[in-house]
């Protein structure tokens, strides 16, 4: 019988499956790559760390001691690592240091312990994303590049909002009663409202300048609205659990403001829906579409039903508020907001379709190959054909 230690050594042949090793390696590297950004550091700093890794400790201490203090000061002054993080603060999507900026934001959150402070921090970063969108809009670059950069910033904004919502949920679960917590959450609500307004304004400006903003801004706007309502939900929940940092009157006032804001949105959307419907009706008449097509297109005009439904939800919210059921009032506000957003997107889609259809119709009208020419029989030599409706076409 072979020696037991010899037998044990044979167990060294036990190995994992190669397919698992390879796929796991790929997954691991992609996970760690996603988490990190390259730090820009000076040659001095890199050399110091390399020496520290490779040299024995005693030798390192012997070399470092006489010039240690001076070296540290020099490294501090000339380390581009520090300058790198500072320089990245003004970077925009697509810039070289943008990833450094995002990483430094993550590090800041990592050092924060209190959940309500984290929520405020995420709102601060969300505001930075809105600043970036506004800055990109002012840049003298092609509309396509603008759209790409804005999409990146808007996606970042949506992420910050999601993180804020998650953090607010943690605050909600925490049973600590504190005026500071409630104040922090109130600030989150106010900031979310403000950012939502800025985002909407920016979107309209971009559309006016023919920059086709993608769905990313709509998604980001929706996320800010959800965050604002979530913040109020947290305060309502705290109040219901006996937190006296905010009074019932203050809460009722906050929720009333939300209802009024939603009502304003509904009015704006109603106008948009009417304009979209009018635009479509005009197009139908211009293009002399047949009755069947008219019927199919008419369904789009029914978008104006949705704002009515949204208005109904707000009426229900007011009823709940009057009866002191703040949680249900908030739910109705959320439902109303969803319907309003649906109507808004629908109206914008119709406007965009109208525009496209109008452009197509114009192209057809000016394309000579589509129009049958009528010959002028009196002309000699150079023949001139007159197109019945628009323009002339010379035929030699």
């Amino acid at each position: 019988m072979p020696n037991i230690t010899e037998q044990l050594k044979q167990l060294k042949q036990v190995k994992p499956r190669k397919e698992w090793v390879d796929s796991e390696r790929e997954l691991l590297l992609s996970q760690i790559t996603r988490q990190t950004a390259v730090k820009q550091q000076s040659v001095f700093v890199n050399s110091w760390y390399l020496a520290k890794s490779l040299m024995p400790g005693s030798l390192l201490r012997f070399v470092a001691r006489p010039v240690g203090v001076l070296t540290v000061i020099t490294l501090f002054i000339f380390s581009s690592g520090i300058f790198g993080v500072n320089a990245s603060k003004n970077s925009l999507p697509g810039d070289f240091l943008y990833s450094v900026k995002l990483t430094s934001e993550k590090v800041q959150v990592g050092f924060t312990v209190a959940e309500e402070k984290k929520a405020q921090m995420h709102m601060g970063f969300a505001e930075e994303r809105v600043n970036e969108i506004e800055a990109v809009s002012q840049k003298a670059i092609t509309p396509q590049k603008k759209q790409e950069k804005i999409d990146v910033a808007a996606a970042g904004l949506s992420q910050e909002m999601k993180k804020t919502q998650q953090t607010l949920e943690q605050v909600k679960q925490d049973s600590t009663k504190s005026k500071l917590i409630v104040e922090a959450v109130q600030k989150v609500d106010q900031k979310a409202e403000e950012l939502g307004d800025r985002l909407e304004q920016q979107k309209q400006e971009l559309l006016q300048n023919d920059v086709l903003v993608g769905k990313s801004m709509d998604i980001a706007k929706e996320a800010t609205d959800v965050t604002a309502v979530k913040a109020v939900e947290v305060i309502v929940d705290k109040r219901e659990k006996g937190d006296v940092s905010v009074t019932d009157n203050e809460l009722v006032e906050t929720i009333n403001k939300k209802i009024n804001k939603e009502q304003e949105k509904i009015k704006q959307v109603e106008t948009q829906v009417k304009e979209a419907a009018q635009g479509q009706a005009k197009l139908i008449v211009d293009q002399e579409k047949d009755v069947e097509t008219l019927a199919v297109d008419q369904k789009n005009v029914d978008q104006n039903i949705i704002p009515n439904q949204a208005e109904q939800k707000l009426t229900e919210a007011k009823d709940f508020l009057n009866h002191g059921d703040l949680g249900s009032a908030l739910e109705k506000i959320k439902e109303s907001a969803t319907l309003t957003q649906e109507a808004k997107v629908g109206a914008e889609t119709i406007v965009s379709q109208n525009k496209e259809a109008a452009e197509q119709a114009e192209e057809v009208a000016t394309d000579p190959s589509e129009i049958l020419p009528i010959e002028d029989k009196n002309a000699e030599g150079e023949k001139e054909t007159t197109i019945e409706n628009k323009g002339t076409l010379k035929v030699e």
Binding site: K12, P16, R17, W20, R25, L28, I32, T36, L50, S53
Partner: protein, 185 residues
């Protein structure tokens, strides 16, 4: 300092300074088999061993990039993290007993590489694994580290956080226990 350990130190430096994923990938290539094997002999299923091995490498990456301490011995660090991962796994399961002999042999047997060529060797390996499964966890651990992974007594002491003297005694007792189990069958 030998060439291999110098290369490892350079790779660790690149990981810490540049968060170089590819350098970490090279370290992964070097250690994955042995970490997997170490965990496999301590848990009852290959699937669990795979999951825990992934966890170990991710945790080690996070540790290397957050600690201020010098990484003097990555080998020991990885095994420590692996050891802790297994302990945490059993704490969650509330079960510090390895699976039955049948589970153990079945799960190991599925994942041999190139053993099928020699049926006798396969039988011998399954037999010694079965004996290993019957040992106390600490005995099994020192046996694995000493005779399979070929650690020195000093390295074993660092991994399991005991003195060298303690490790020598454990090794002696573990081997005796294994011989008794093997002798009984």
């Amino acid at each position: 300092m030998n060439k291999a350990s110098l290369k490892e130190k350079y790779l660790i430096y690149k990981v810490r300074q540049n968060k170089d994923a590819e350098s970490y990938g090279q370290l992964y290539d070097y250690y994955v088999d042995r970490i997997f094997r170490f965990i496999l002999f301590k848990v009852s299923s290959v699937e669990t061993a795979e999951d825990l091995t992934s966890e170990v490498f991710l945790k080690t990456w996070e540790y290397i990039n957050t600690t201020d301490k010098k990484i003097g011995n990555l080998n020991a660090l990885l095994y420590k993290v692996a050891r802790n991962a297994v302990i945490d796994h059993y704490r969650k399961k509330r079960n510090d007993v390895i699976g039955t002999d049948e589970d153990f042999m079945h799960s190991i047997a599925d994942h041999r590489i190139n053993i099928e060529k020699d049926a006798n060797l396969k039988i011998e390996i399954q037999s010694i694994e079965k004996h290993l499964g019957k040992l106390k966890d600490i005995y099994r651990e020192v046996i694995i580290l000493k005779y399979i992974e070929e650690f020195s007594v000093t390295e074993i002491a660092e991994v399991i956080d005991k003195s060298r003297g303690n490790v020598r005694v454990l090794l002696h007792r573990a081997l005796q226990a294994l011989k008794e189990i093997a002798g009984e069958e």
